[in-house]
Symmetry: C2
Subunit: 386 residues, 2 copies
């Protein structure tokens, strides 16, 4: 693989390592109103729908910015002042959704579970039953805070059964973890160019149920983040309302071709599962403990508990890994001290093995004896912390 000297492998949840082919797609300038670019735009919108079999039921509306821009845009476009939203929270991204609703001045309530436990579907059903004012539920498919996989199909069933609307933050799941619009009812599914799709960052999108989108005129509290207006313009002339990130879009177009060549989301998930298994097994062999039991772990990003060994200073550990060409991620949990290692991006088991060797070297350099002696992921100490 041809790579710039000293370019590290990014074991992060995004920005992540992308392929040379994807980056090479940015070596050309596109006129944003030119037919060739408009065709690219149409193709991307169509493929994103096809990835979850949503072409008949939904529209794809992309928007400039990070994934959170797409989340705020979708919430602000679809949720009216008369609506009430229930947010399922078990990490920072669920909390961020609640914060957006608060800033937009919308009526909402939160159902929270601990960061190492999935959304509670029975409690959700109960709350929908007891509070008829709730019109929308927002859930996070894979909570990147912990790496936890929420039971999105069960959530969708409970919401549909109660006759409410579901909005899914699929940011770090879309393109790898299975979801099918024909089986899983959602009003909107939101993601970005830069996670499992392995594009570069700068673009988000929402797949929005057609009737809901058609009824969303004038709801948005923002010009830039109005997905109804964005959609109307794209339908009329395939153009973006405001200067599109042409190079990011060209990179996503290339990345989607590569995804299809890999066998689509199922093929990509296989690679990520192998990456995850290799990384978790290797780290456990070195004595690291995962936050989550394997049954809750999405093969996206893994949270490891911070070792208690005296010489294990995270910033030094990080630097020793960086020196060896691997960038990892700090923890984001409130419940325990932790760090994270991603297994998505243009990475294979070969890079996972390389990262494990680098971890071993880092421990040696830090003077930390291994295998480490850390609590196991399910022991009492951790429960007490919660």
């Amino acid at each position: 693989m041809t790579r710039p000297t000293n370019e590290p492998w990014l074991l992060t949840p995004g920005p992540l390592t992308t392929s040379k082919t994807t980056k090479d797609a940015m070596l050309r300038d596109w006129g944003s109103r030119d037919m060739a670019f408009l065709n690219t735009n149409r193709r991307i919108r169509s493929i994103l729908l096809d990835l979850v079999n949503a072409a008949d039921s939904h529209e794809c509306v992309p928007v400039q910015g990070s994934g959170t821009f797409a989340v705020e845009a979708a919430l602000g476009t679809l949720i009216k002042n008369t609506d009430k939203t229930l947010v399922l929270v078990n990490g920072a991204y669920g909390k961020r959704i609640a914060r957006i609703l608060e800033i937009l001045g919308l009526n909402f309530t939160v159902q929270e579970t601990p960061e190492n436990q999935p959304n509670d579907v029975d409690a959700l059903a109960g709350q929908l039953h007891s509070d008829p004012a709730i019109s929308h539920v927002v859930a996070v498919h894979c909570e990147t805070t912990s790496g936890l996989l929420n039971p999105i199909a069960e959530i969708a069933d409970a919401v549909a059964k109660a006759g409410r609307k579901l909005i899914i933050d699929g940011m770090s799941a879309f393109g790898a973890l299975p979801i099918d619009a024909r089986d899983t009812q959602f009003e909107a599914l939101i993601a970005s160019s830069n996670k499992c799709l392995e594009g570069i960052p700068g673009l988000g999108f929402a797949l929005i149920e057609k009737t809901a989108l058609a009824n969303a005129k004038g709801t948005s509290r923002s010009l830039c983040l109005d997905l109804f207006d964005q959609w109307q313009t794209m339908e009329s002339n395939a153009q973006w309302r405001f200067t599109p990130p042409t190079h990011v879009i060209a990179a996503l177009d290339s990345a989607l071709s590569q995804l299809i060549a890999e066998g689509g989301p199922a093929g990509r998930l296989d690679r990520y599962k192998n990456n995850c298994r290799r990384l978790v097994n290797g780290m456990r062999a070195l004595g690291f403990a995962t936050l989550l039991p394997d049954t809750l772990q999405a093969p996206i990003i893994i949270t490891f508990k911070m070792p208690t060994a005296k010489n294990f200073i995270f910033s030094n550990f990080y630097d020793h890994l960086k020196d060896q060409g691997y960038v990892i991620y700090p923890g984001k949990l409130t419940i325990i001290d932790s760090f994270r290692m991603g297994c998505i991006g243009h990475l294979t088991e070969s890079q996972m093995s390389g990262a494990l060797s680098a971890v071993e070297v880092a421990l040696q350099r830090l003077g930390v004896a291994y295998p480490l002696k850390t609590p196991s992921p399910t022991n009492q100490t951790q429960r007490n912390v919660l």
Copy 2:
């Protein structure tokens, strides 16, 4: 110059032609929390302030998205519900600012001049005198709709003399047209990575006066577009709140180095002036008429009146130019039928000459005799249209 086969030159206001060096800067993935990237981020924010001598008085706050995202973000962050804003309008971008204020539910009024006439500074001074409720004035430095240069220094003087605050949309001017924060008072100056800075699209920024920014906590109606919150986070750890467009930022870093090597904004302006002169002279020799007299023309983008010759069909003209490797831009005027040709981007007089030859060939292919017989830019017919 090494370029992909069939890549056209973009004679557009953005996305525009960027250098190979700028695009090559995107061939690497960066961890968004890694020190090397954080240093890039700091460097860019510092250089953007230095370009207009604003380091002592202002803060640079970048935001993901297009230039309009930065405009909406700055307006929403700085203008409070108790404020009243006067928008100077002589084109689509002024109108867009008014539309943003309307959607944000803010109190505003508009002072409009025709699309081929600059903002009226005397009328501005009069309105500020007669309406003491006006707290803010928003002006567009170069109105890309027409290519017109508004008298920003005089506007700033009138606003400062009246004790009000000025917000400048400097989108297509910043990095080339002169502006100096030590002489020209502004509360905010907004621009993007992708115009005269010759970066790639996907990033906007606002240079915001320090006291105004410090007083902006909680004003924004959006999470993503809250520049106070964005600034606070960047000041605390140099990180972006949400996934930054790392490749776009790396490209801007490279583009800024190239701007400095070209002699800064003054050096770049020289090149653009030469481009503009070559293009306007050549087009006039072929019989095309500019919308604007030379005294009002910014060397950014030139509006040409649509020829009246029977065989001159714009879409065919566009295609013949595209075939020859030059992309131009449709008109955006409401007053007359027109098209536009940009002279910014990584282009020199050599590309202007090439474009002129291509125009001549296009006229031949269309069967349009030239020099064309079109009205001169200052004649009575055009005035009557207004």
